[in-house]
């Protein structure tokens, strides 16, 4: 039952699906685009933005692709006139309570709402009415929260509760006045927040942005360089965003096999060291009471010689290695290999302690 294969058609294209897969998921796999604002692969399906509504043959009302499970011989159409009209109205409604100041918004070029309003030729004028005019929240070191740009997709609150499990933020208020916030609107601080920036990473608009990268470059000006985090052995990947040879921020790599775009505070915000003047960039060898810059070859040769002479004079039990938990598993494996097979010693350990 669980792995029964189901065949459906999306826009006449036949797709084989797994039991319990959603229409949105099947469409994504097949490379068929369905717009959405509240979907993030890291999160449970939500069904809040109503943009992924699609037409399913035989069902009178449009169904949300993100929460509708596939069923055998289901025939889905992702775009019809009436569905495009509903989507456009939804985007127009969102824009009717939006500051629409894309020109100075940090998210320009990296904003799903902006993309959709372009795609659907939508603006907020038809439904113009009361607009939020709430204070921008700069009350913490890492995250800027401009509630006026929030579209209530609930991604930030869900990632904070479902993935991070920090419970820092939640939806508050009702109706037009509902918005994500901390309890009692307190600042995000060490008391209630991990500063992992997961909420920022999932926000589809400019409502949540990284403070550190502010004004340092638009998405299209930045070169993304994939790297592995150097803080711990988990092996999270992320993208260093580089402009003019300098790292200006870190963004999630959603296709990363280990972390699927998730990061902690160190990986996401701890990149100041990269351009620090105090950073050691070349090997140093102590000569008397001074350090001397040397080449890698020279440094390695020096260490090898020292080990060799120690081994000869005192035997394997006199040497050992102490590895770092910031190294990857592979690196730790290599060091233990070196100690056990080359030094023929069992003196190998790691700093990881609970």
């Amino acid at each position: 039952m669980a792995d029964r294969i189901i065949k459906i058609k999306i826009n006449s294209k036949e797709i084989s699906c797994k039991h319990h897969e959603t229409v949105l998921h099947a469409a994504k796999r097949a490379g068929i685009y369905i717009p959405t604002l509240c979907d993030d692969d890291r999160l449970e399906a939500y069904g809040g933005c109503r943009l992924c509504l699609v037409h399913v043959k035989g069902v009178p009302r449009p169904l949300p692709a993100c929460t509708t499970p596939v069923a055998d011989r289901m025939e889905v159409t992702t775009e019809t006139d009436s569905i495009r009209k509903i989507r456009k109205n939804i985007i127009e409604l969102l824009l009717s309570n939006h500051p629409n100041d894309c020109m100075r918004c940090e998210a320009t070029g990296d904003c799903t709402l902006q993309d959709l309003s372009y795609e659907y030729g939508a603006d907020g004028t038809r439904f113009a009415g009361e607009k939020w005019d709430l204070p921008i929240r700069e009350d913490n070191p890492f995250i800027t929260y401009d509630p006026n740009k929030c579209i209530l997709c609930g991604r930030c609150t869900r990632i904070c509760n479902e993935v991070v499990m920090a419970g820092t933020i939640s939806l508050t208020g009702r109706g037009f006045n509902a918005m994500p916030d901390t309890s009692f609107g307190q600042p995000r601080s060490l008391k209630n927040c991990e500063f992992c920036g997961q909420c920022v990473s999932t926000c589809p608009t400019g409502a949540l942005t990284d403070k550190k990268g502010k004004g340092k470059g638009r998405a299209y000006e930045l070169t993304k360089v994939r790297t592995t985090c150097s803080y711990c052995g988990t092996g999270c990947n992320f993208d260093l965003n580089v402009k003019d040879g300098r790292v200006v921020k870190v963004t999630s790599a959603y296709d990363a096999p280990v972390n699927h775009g998730n990061l902690c505070v160190k990986g996401r915000y701890g990149y100041d060291f990269i351009h620090s003047f105090e950073r050691i960039r070349k090997p140093l060898v102590r000569k008397g009471d001074k350090f001397k810059e040397v080449s890698w070859d020279e440094a390695l040769e020096y260490v090898a010689q020292k080990f060799k002479s120690l081994l000869k004079k005192y035997g394997p039990s006199a040497v050992g290695a102490f590895s770092s938990s910031r190294c990857t598993n592979e690196e730790n494996f290599l060091i233990s290999k070196l100690v056990r097979t080359v030094f023929r010693s069992n003196n190998v350990d790691n700093c990881a302690r609970v």
Binding site: G47, I90, R174, G175
Partner: protein, 598 residues
């Protein structure tokens, strides 16, 4: 205070006095009335039983406006007094009880009898007759027979009986209860739950409160039967915290049922365990929606989630759950003790049984009524309701609460049942029924209802959260005289999309009042927008105040009341309003003692 007061003294055979102590009765002073009866009878040394009757403002009476209502029953013959106050008690005791001559001028009139005689009371009859704080009173009217009988049957036989009755959920959607229970029974998963939805968030609705206040044991018995049928060992009653009396009575009833082993382990000496917990709701309308309600019980914010999966497969704590409305469950014991076939004799084949409605608005007799489903709307309004107040003409009837629709007077012959109501763009909803006459402005009325749903939207999905807000703003500007040419089209477009695209029933029905009034009363919207006139003269900003030459008695009160010097008046002169200076505040209208301001 004890429920029954036994007095010693010379015997007047079979004397019983029943005093209405529902929320309405209590407010009208029934406590004082009881004390006074007690004092008077005591002083005359008469022995009588005083029963706190009805315990809710409707149940037996429905005649909220006439509280305190008192029955004096001698030798089985009841006489009902209305508008009883403590100072009337002495005369009633002296003339009626001592001398045997009822005080004719204080007895209820023929409307009272019309109001009652035309109804079919299955549920409310019980509510009125028994003391809700005494389980023995319920047992005396064959209470808990249905549960006992059910536990001796196979759960599927219970489901079959309920299916045979044709009972449809009274919470609004009218889903077949037997089918819901069968789905839940058949869903894999353990444990299972049954929940009683007593959230009743519609403004003006109080049928569920009345049932719980008047006969809590019927609801408990219904839950026992339902729990057994679906295979649940635990039930929840989700009830709003604003119903303290209902909660209190429910708690008393639960305790009594536990003491009798009707709840707990191996109930009714069977192998079946079942107990009930009370969960208080914080008063969010959306928490009446099934998935939001379950999240709320779980301790989360009450956000609806999309279905599937339905609650019968993945409900509370992810387990199969049957959610039923109070009235639905209260019907179940009757079905089990008297049979599904008996139940199906009421109503029509697809809409069996009776339904309790809250009849309000511009109708002569207001209150809770119970009628068989399928009854023509006309009978409700004119026979039971006594027709429109002040003999004005009927304009429309709004059913289904804030998300229901309007039925114009031209459709007054339609039957009142689940399917007919939704066909006409309204719904059964919780059973609200508001009567409107020519003095009701349909734009203003739909603005009122939409303002409720808009503020109660949970905020999760865009069409409901922002869409209803924008619709409300459009209605506001229309009623304030700032309507725009294409506003009606905009309302229809938004309303249609909100209904199609919203996640839960709240958003999907919120535009109903607006759409149905546009359908049937479009010309009223047009008059507001194009002519700047509110035909019913309700919308203040659209009123054009003038002084009737005929009616003006030249007193000058309007002149003195006007804050913007728009009225010209001198002694022995009729007043004249200068429209250019008038700010339409209505001060002159309120001030004129002769209704001369039009």
């Amino acid at each position: 205070m004890p429920t029954k007061t036994k007095l010693r003294g010379p015997e007047i055979s079979d004397l019983m006095i029943k005093v209405c102590v529902g929320t309405g009765g209590l407010a009208a002073g029934s406590r004082e009335v009881i004390e006074e009866f007690d004092r008077q009878l005591r002083s005359k040394g008469i022995r009588a039983t005083i029963v706190k009757k009805c315990v809710n403002k409707t149940g037996c009476r429905g005649f909220c406006a006439r509280d305190v209502l008192v029955d004096v029953i001698r030798n089985g013959r009841p006489d009902t007094y209305e508008l009883v106050t403590a100072d009337r008690v002495a005369r009633i005791v002296e003339e009626h009880i001592v001398q045997g001559e009822p005080v004719q001028e204080w007895l209820v009139g023929p409307e009272y009898h019309d109001f009652h005689d035309k109804q079919t009371k299955i549920l409310l009859r019980q509510c009125g007759q028994i003391d809700p704080e005494d389980i023995e009173a319920y047992i005396a009217i064959r209470g808990y027979k249905g549960a006992k009988k059910s536990l001796a049957l196979d759960p599927y036989e219970v489901i079959e009986e309920v299916r045979l009755s044709g009972l449809r959920g009274r919470g609004g959607a009218g889903f077949l209860t037997g089918m819901k229970w069968e789905f839940c029974r058949k869903s894999p998963g353990d444990p299972k739950y049954i929940i009683c939805n007593a959230d009743e968030g519609d403004p003006g609705a109080f049928m569920d409160r009345s049932i719980i206040e008047g006969n809590p044991h019927a609801v408990i018995e219904g839950m026992i039967i339902g729990g057994y049928a679906v295979g649940a060992n635990l039930g929840y009653v989700y009830i709003r915290a604003e119903y303290p009396l209902a909660v209190e009575r429910l708690k008393i009833a639960l305790d009594q049922a536990r003491k009798k082993n009707f709840l707990g382990k191996k109930i009714f000496r069977s192998e079946y365990d079942f107990d009930i917990k009370i969960k208080l709701g914080a008063g969010a309308f959306v928490c009446g929606e099934s998935t939001a309600l379950m999240r709320s019980i779980e301790g989360e914010r009450g956000l609806p989630r999309p279905t599937p999966p339905r609650s019968v497969t993945k409900g509370l704590w992810g387990k199969p759950t049957a959610l039923n409305n109070v009235e639905t469950l209260a019907n179940v014991p009757l079905i089990m003790s008297k049979g599904g076939k008996w139940f199906a004799t009421f109503g029509t084949p697809k809409n069996t049984g009776t339904k309790v409605f809250a009849l309000t608005g511009k109708v002569k007799n207001t209150g809770l009524i119970e009628v068989p489903l399928g009854i023509p709307l006309k009978e409700i309004i004119f026979d039971i309701g006594g027709g429109v107040e002040k003999n004005r003409s009927l304009k429309a009837v709004q059913t289904g609460g804030p998300s229901g629709g309007c039925i114009p007077a031209s459709h007054i012959d339609m039957p009142v049942d689940f399917d007919s109501l939704s066909r006409i763009g309204s719904m059964m909803g919780s059973g609200g029924m508001v009567v409107m006459d020519e003095t009701t402005c349909m734009v203003d009325m739909s603005k009122f209802f939409l303002a409720f749903t808009e503020s109660e939207s949970c905020g999760k999905c865009v069409p409901c959260r922002i869409g209803t807000k924008r619709m409300l703003e459009i209605l506001e500007r229309i009623t304030e005289g700032r309507g725009r040419k294409n506003d009606i089209d905009l309302l229809i477009e938004l309303g249609t999309d909100i209904k199609l695209a919203s996640l839960c029933g709240l958003g999907r029905s919120a535009p109903n009042p607006v759409l149905s009034t546009i359908q049937f009363f479009r010309e009223e919207y047009e008059a507001h927008i194009h002519d700047g006139v509110c035909p019913s003269r309700v919308c203040k900003a659209l009123r054009q105040y003038t002084v009737s030459e005929e009616l003006c008695r030249m007193c000058g009160k309007c002149f003195r009341a006007c804050p913007s010097e728009a009225i010209a008046w001198e002694k022995k002169q009729k007043a004249v309003i200068d429209r250019t200076k008038c700010i339409k505040c209505g001060a002159c209208y309120d001030a004129c003692p002769f209704d001369a301001i039009l």
